[in-house]
Symmetry: C2
């Protein structure tokens, strides 16, 4: 599809949602390949800007291509995603359940969903699929690639694998996952596994989401928001072992809404990709990565502690990369990137204009 | 049993293990009662010292009355539990599965184990059961009551409920549980629940233990000990979604050994007691608690953060209690109390001698 064809179906500033497959198999880092994956993607703004002023946003674990839905604060006049100046592309990662090929997709070899047989995919595989999309859209070079969490991993992977195509990279709350993060991802997959053959197999995904929610927030936020209050439904925690405090009611709610919108095998696949992401700093040094990279730590993030993001920035700088580190002040934990709009706008805008 | 009767069956410095029931029902804070509970307990040292120099040690979630097994570093010449100077008592908490009445015990009303029908018990109930043991042993007043984690909650409860019987109280890594701790306890009980009717019901308790293990350690310890290394069995994390990093292998091992030694319903019962523990500071002020109280925060503890322990100490001091706060330096997290023997010996000894 040419940008002219896109333009005919688009109003500027209105999101459009497409699927794309070039029919080619995708070789995977772990071996084997994914047969002719489909990539679902969205374009925001004037597609005529794709050739010269395209920004790629990479989404996090449970995100979708519709970045306008989940990161609206970055859009607008004078903001990093100002659609009078840039066209914004976001694509659903392979392995997800929001339109790109994932475990819930049909395996062409069997005609049945991949489900548990979906192969291990990496952040590198996700980015390789995105490169095909860039080719398809006629994007020679991204003005910027921006993402947080697993999205930030993709941004780093882009800058490392294809630095000529990335002018500026913004990595928020991301680094190779420290050991405690590996531990909690393992626990979340175990939660899915232990309930798989129980009368309520979805309970494990809800439990995984509850665990994840703890890692996305901060202890301080939980103390301020829930403290030791009984659940707002009126439960008295002394009444029974099941009777809850407020924070437990909140986590149960997060789990319940999540199982209605996410696939357990996608969850296993994507957390695995998160685990295996790493940065080969000596290789980065040798490949003379020329992209400017901004790494943003989030002050209260304990899943990707700011010290880990800072340490990665320091290593990249030592390897000759034009990297910078800044810290977002937030008591929201890892999820700070979804909350602290004005700080984030200012940090990212300053970097992109700099 | 008189101390003379105990003496006849004991060598000084040798642990002895008893069961006790006075046949009286135990009224419970949550309502109802526990019929004639049995208390399993151990006495270390010369029972003749019980009347004048008795120290009570309170154990944590998965501990037993055999404090010599799990806290050996506190025993010995010149240490807080110097058996030439004190007799040491430790009793298994009600609700546990190490000899005192708990969910695995037979309910006299049905002749079957209580299992899930075991009532909600509180830290206050546990301490009330311990008071009967003190009466039975002829202990008018404890020279010291010492405990960490849920053990520390019991120590506080003793000092608040019966300050005339507690000369000195040592509370390590304990406070009312902050919201993130309530969250993780809820998650652990959910883990047990979601696997209850699966083909492998023990898997939920193993998962709960894996979650708990994360909260007992520190991110720093995990980074130093496991980092991002593949599991030492030789697994390659890229091979499959199940293939593990080292930290995941460690957590699985912790889960596997735990299910062989602990009862899932005891786990639910005791974590619930941990949740509902709170300190009514104004009441403490009114009841003129005269016990000297040492509160020890553990620097890398994120289950009971040192700031929470410090804050409790400050409130108690404001309420007129002779409380002090000190910090144990450790990168082991909450479990620091089981690791930092020499620091702990020095802190506790200094306080008890002071």
């Amino acid at each position: 599809m040419t940008s002219a064809a896109l333009a005919s179906s688009l109003e500027p500033t209105v999101e459009s949602d497409f699927k794309f497959s070039d029919g080619e198999d995708l070789a995977l880092d772990a071996g084997g390949y994914l047969p002719a994956p489909t990539i679902r993607y969205a374009v925001y703004g004037n597609p005529d800007l794709l050739a010269t002023n395209a920004v790629l946003v990479c989404h996090a674990l449970s995100g979708s291509a519709r970045v306008g839905d989940w990161w609206p604060g970055l859009f607008g006049d004078g903001r990093p995603l100002d659609l009078s100046r840039v066209a914004v592309v976001c694509s659903n990662i392979i392995g997800s359940c929001y339109g790109s090929t994932g475990p819930a997709s049909l395996n062409p070899a069997t005609g049945a969903p991949y489900a548990e047989s979906f192969p291990v995919v990496t952040i590198g595989d996700m980015v390789r699929a995105q490169r095909r999309l860039a080719d398809h859209l006629g994007v020679q070079s991204w003005k910027a690639v921006v993402g947080a969490s697993i999205g930030g991993m993709q941004v780093l992977q882009w800058a490392i694998d294809d630095p000529d195509r990335v002018k500026a990279a913004v990595v928020i709350g991301a680094s190779p996952l420290p050991a405690l993060g590996l531990a909690f991802n393992h626990i979340q997959r175990l939660a899915i596994d232990v309930s798989r053959h129980s009368p309520d197999p979805a309970a494990g995904l809800a439990l995984a989401r509850a665990v994840a929610t703890c890692t996305y927030k901060s202890a301080e936020l939980f103390d301020n928001r829930y403290g030791r209050a009984p659940n707002r439904s009126g439960e008295d925690p002394l009444d029974s072992i099941e009777a809850r405090f407020d924070v437990a009611g909140y986590l149960d709610h997060q789990g319940a809404v999540f199982v209605d919108r996410f696939d357990a095998n996608s969850y296993r696949t994507i957390t695995k990709a998160m685990d295996t992401f790493d940065v080969d700093v000596p290789k980065v040094g040798r490949s003379r990565v020329g992209s400017r990279i901004l790494l943003v730590g989030i002050s209260s993030d304990w899943l990707f502690p700011p010290a880990a993001v800072h340490s990665l920035a320091t290593e990249l700088i030592k390897a000759g990369v034009a990297a910078e580190y800044v810290e977002l002040r937030s008591d929201h934990g890892h999820d700070g990137f979804l909350v602290e709009d004005s700080q984030l706008v200012s940090l990212v805008k300053g970097f992109l204009d700099g």
